[in-house]
């Protein structure tokens, strides 16, 4: 690829060169002919041949001017001078290889970082979704009174569908997992139960067969399934005759009616879709329709009618929800909603972090530009005479600025090319670093838009860092520059001011980055040191969701879980085995609850608590202490009274000053019209259940023997490294029921680490950028101070001759550096103060204006600045007064 490009370029160059020569030759010949004719004419009028020729030349005027005028028209014109400039620039860059290398690498760093981050922004935020109807697809989110997203309830969804006028299609999705059995092997797949019109929302066409028809949404219809292209290929080898055949899912036969097109997987990772037989399922005996209105487990997507805006849809849905709140105050009192484009819905909170990072790399690039501008300024000084002479000889300023800009552009484009390579590598790096479940991560890469962005950024930087030096050094103050003592002149002072300004801004920009990185880092450290409440070390987790004919009743589930737990407990190296419906740091169900004997509230006023079901050994397996009362045990089974544990937070929240033991609570369930009561038998310590950054919230734990879930997670505490247990665990489950696959095999530590992956990603990248910024700023300060010392050699020599000591000279140079740095720090602190506010949503436990971070950043930068100016300052002290004075 690369070689071809150069070959083509070389050929084009050569042709231009050859052609240009022949054009010039023709022009020359034509003008010569003209001269000869004129001379002949003159001779006819009686001049001597010599005279005639001279007169002809005279009448012709300035030969060079005519030729130039012709060339302007005939030659490439602007293009030709551009080519000249490029050639000249390239020559200059080759001649000053050191400068070129440093400048190109500096820019490459900046451009590379920008390319890498932009490629993520592009894939995640900018690239439209790859669905035929992409721009009309919206997500309808249900919110609670705090504005947090909750899942859509089936009853509400049906009302939305019946009452809205804005959607062409409104589809409900219930994402879950399922066991796919083929022969002897079972596999756990991500499955979505969707309303029949689901595929119409996206506008996709089946690869094979058909999608659902409305009748299939209703109860009693044959069970049908649509497979993803991936599953069809992977499990069935792309067999085109699969349509119409039957496959077994959760022990039940489903008829394959179609295959979705390649690449269609919504929700993410879904491998098959089935229609819901009823949108209000009965999950257990405790469920009734009234509660179903308040029990959400769906998400909703809609296709807007043509011409309807997201805003219009949002307004109408808000009105419908308001009506529902009035109609069903018990369940809907705290339900609100929001309509957003599907893209916004998918990207969610990642966009804040991405935009922050994009801003950060832009700052890095600015600093890189400042450095290169500095280098250019320093070089402009040495080229000052050349430029002055050319100005004096009549070159226009525009022409010179253009030439200098072309040089800058060359540097910028070279930097951009190297930066693209860096960025390419950076994209790979980013893919590895991205948090788990980062939206649309699979599409991150370098595409045309990223290339365009890089090119644009390169051109932009060329102008940014090239323009000021170009304007400065072509300032047509010719006398000033031509004077031998030009470097002490006013022009020099002005240049120095520009240079100082660059330093000040570099320091300010770096400080902003440092403080941003510091804040993210501190908040990440806070997260890391959060009191989890449980011990994640040496704990293996996996999930079982048994299905099939043997799993119809609660006791069948409980029995299976107990059996598996018992079997695993006997494995060598295993200390304890616990079972829980949802692992800590994984989103799980909540339930309303009320305490017996308290005044009866309407259900919408019932507080919500996390709802967990555990085996007796669970707390031992994850090292959560029982603070009061007793633990659950094997006696808390179906034949015993319903028992429940509560956590410390719940006690503080609902039983302040009371003894919770022995109190009875209801979780909203009724049997024969009577509330079902659970007795509180113990209190356990708090754990971080939801997110690392969320304080423990009230939580209840039922016994899995009395209240099992259809899918539960196992925690296996071991004396050996957890991964070494996996084969034995797999085998143990297989021996009990080979149709039940184990899924989500992970170490608990991994879960904890993944819970912090977004903050880790943010803080890692921003720290990286801040580090680069710091390095660049140090290089910049070093460069300017070195230059300043060289420039002031005479002055320093004079001072020393007049009795200045080493100390005084050091103070002189370091003082200059400190003044500039302090100015930059002041500017940076003010900017950071204003800017860090935007990142407050990304912080945990740290104030956006955290004083230690601000102070630390400033101190670090000051130290680095001092280090950077130490070498130049020392060189200044080595100035020999005699040599310095003789120089003049």
């Amino acid at each position: 690829m690369k070689a071809m490009y150069w070959l083509r370029l070389a050929r084009a160059r050569l042709r231009g060169l050859l052609r240009k020569r022949s054009v010039e030759r023709e022009m020359e010949e034509e003008l010569n002919f003209h001269l000869r004719m004129r001379a002949a004419e003159n001779a006819q009028q009686g001049m001597t041949p010599d005279e005639a020729e001279r007169a002809a030349l005279r009448s012709f005027g300035s030969w060079a001017r005519v030729r130039e005028a012709c060339r302007d028209v005939k030659g490439g014109g602007v293009v030709e001078t551009l080519i000249q400039d490029v050639k000249f620039g390239a020559r200059m860059l080759r001649k000053h290889l050191g400068f070129t290398l440093v400048a190109v690498l500096t820019l490459a760093l900046g451009v590379g970082a920008n390319t890498a981050i932009f490629s993520v922004v592009n894939a995640v935020l900018l690239r439209p979704l790859q669905y035929p109807n992409a721009e009309r697809i919206v997500a309808i989110q249900e919110l609670n009174e705090k504005g947090s997203r909750v899942q859509v309830t089936p009853a509400n969804f049906l009302d939305w569908r019946a009452q809205n006028t804005v959607f062409e299609h409104l589809a409900a999705i219930f994402a879950r997992t399922s066991n796919l059995t083929a022969g002897d092997e079972s596999e756990r797949i991500d499955l979505a139960m969707t309303s029949a019109n689901f595929f119409q929302v996206f506008g996709v066409q089946p690869q094979l067969g058909r999608f659902f028809v409305p009748e299939e949404e209703r109860a009693g219809h044959d069970a049908v399934i649509v497979l993803s292209y991936g599953l069809w290929q992977r499990r069935y080898g792309g067999d085109p005759s699969l349509v119409g055949k039957s496959i077994v899912l959760d022990g039940q036969p489903y008829t394959v009616v179609g295959v979705a097109p390649a690449g269609f997987q919504y929700p993410d990772k879904t491998e098959a879709w089935i229609p819901p037989f009823q949108l209000v399922p009965t999950i257990s005996a405790q469920m009734n329709i009234e509660r179903a209105r308040g029990f959400g487990f769906l998400s909703a997507v809609g296709l807007l009618k043509p011409g309807v805006s997201v805003k219009q849809a949002h307004d109408e849905m808000t009105a419908i929800t308001a009506r529902l709140r009035e109609q069903y105050p018990n369940t809907n009192n705290n339900r609100f909603n929001r309509v957003v484009s599907l893209q916004t819905h998918l990207v969610g909170e990642s966009s804040a972090a991405l935009l922050l990072l994009l801003g950060a790399v832009a700052l890095v690039l600015l600093i890189a530009c400042a450095n290169v501008a500095n280098l250019l300024l320093a070089r402009a000084t040495s080229r000052q005479k050349e430029i002055a002479v050319r100005l004096a000889l009549g070159a226009t300023r525009l022409r010179l600025v253009r030439q200098l800009l072309v040089e800058s552009m060359l540097v910028a484009l070279l930097g951009g090319a190297v930066g693209l390579l860096l960025g390419w590598w950076g994209v790979d790096l980013m893919r590895g670093l991205l948090p788990v479940d980062f939206p649309r991560a699979q599409s991150i890469g370098i595409d045309l838009r990223v290339l365009g962005f890089t090119l644009l950024v390169s051109f932009g930087t060329g102008i940014v860092f090239g323009l000021v030096p170009a304007l400065q050094s072509t300032n047509p103050d010719i006398n000033e520059s031509l004077k031998e003592s030009g470097r002490d002149s006013a022009g020099g002072a002005r240049r120095n001011r520009v240079r100082s300004l660059l330093i000040v801004s570099e320091v300010a920009l770096s400080l902003v980055l440092l403080i941003g990185a510091g804040l993210l880092f501190r908040s990440f450290m806070r997260l890391q040191s959060v009191e989890l409440g449980f011990r994640p070390q040496r704990v293996l987790t996996f999930r079982l969701a048994p299905s099939g004919a043997n799993f119809r009743q609660d006791p069948q589930f409980s029995a299976f879980y107990s059996q598996v737990a018992e079997r695993i407990k006997t494995l060598p190296g295993v200390n304890a085995v616990g079972v829980i419906n949802t692992l800590p740091l994984v989103k799980g169900p909540t339930t309303a609850f009320r305490v017996d004997g308290r005044p009866l509230l309407t259900p919408d006023k019932w507080p919500g608590v996390n709802y967990r079901s555990v085996s007796p050994d669970y707390f031992r397996a994850v090292n959560v202490p029982i603070l009061k009362g007793r633990a659950l045990d094997a006696h808390d089974d179906v034949s015993a009274p319903l028992a429940v544990l509560v956590n410390q937070s719940l006690v503080l929240h609902d039983f302040a000053g009371e003894d919770p033991i022995g109190k009875r609570i209801n979780l909203g369930g009724t049997r024969d019209g009577q509330p079902i009561w659970f007795e509180v038998v113990g209190v356990v310590a708090d754990v971080r259940s939801l997110e690392l950054s969320t304080e423990p919230t009230p939580e209840i734990y039922t016994s899995y023997l009395q209240d099992p879930f259809a899918g539960m997670s196992f925690v296996v505490r071991s004396a050996v490294e957890p991964p070494s247990l996996v084969p034995a665990v797999r085998e143990a489950v297989r021996q009990i029921d080979k149709a039940q696959p184990i899924a989500e095999v992970r170490e608990m530590e991994q879960i904890v680490s993944e819970a912090a992956s977004q903050p880790r990603f943010n803080s890692l990248l921003l720290s990286l950028f801040a580090g680069v910024a710091l390095l660049l700023a140090a290089a910049g300060i070093y460069g300017v101070m070195s230059y300043s010392v060289t420039q002031r050699t005479h002055e320093i020599g004079l001072r020393m001759a007049l009795g200045a000591q080493t100390r005084d000279v050091l103070r002189l140079i370091v003082g200059q550096c400190i003044r500039l740095t302090l100015l930059g720090l002041a500017l940076g602190l003010v900017s950071a103060f204003a800017l860090t506010r935007v990142m407050s949503t990304l912080l945990y436990g740290v104030d956006p204006n955290d004083v230690p971070t601000f102070a630390g950043g400033a101190t670090l930068l000051m130290v680095v600045a001092l280090l950077a100016c130490y070498l130049p300052a020392r060189r200044a002290t080595k100035v020999s007064p005699l040599v310095a004075l003789r120089y003049e």
Binding site: E26, M27, E29, E30, L31, F33, H34, R36, M37, R38, A40, S59, F60, G61, S62, R65, V66, A69, C70, D72, V73, K74
Partner: protein, 110 residues
């Protein structure tokens, strides 16, 4: 030799060149000569204007050039009016006439 007095507007020069070539192909020197003849020695086209103008007009596609042999047996580049050039000349003549009449009228008014 009369001093050239009339400064030619650029558009006018182009028109004159086209007019000069309308009678047949000429080399650059010949174009200058022809204009001088036609203007009864009143208009002398400077070389510094003539050749750039020729190149410009050529780029417009109104004339084409080819190497040939001059009356005194030298290699010379000859310019020839194209069809587009002839049309252009017509347009410019009309424009010129209109302008000239208008200017004349203005100058007649006392």
């Amino acid at each position: 030799m009369p001093k050239q007095d009339a400064k030619l507007l650029q558009g006018t020069l182009d028109m004159l060149i086209l007019k000069a070539l309308s009678l047949g192909a000429l080399h650059g020197f010949g174009v200058g000569q022809r204009i001088m003849q036609m203007s009864a020695e009143a208009l002398r086209v400077e070389e510094g204007s003539l050749y750039p103008a020729l190149y410009r007009i050529e780029q417009q596609g109104w004339i084409t050039s080819a190497w040939g042999v001059s009356e005194n047996n030298q290699r010379a580049k000859f310019y020839r009016l194209t069809r587009a050039g002839r049309k252009q000349l017509q347009i410019e003549e009309e424009n010129w006439e209109r302008l000239a009449t208008a200017v004349f009228k203005v100058m007649q008014t006392t």
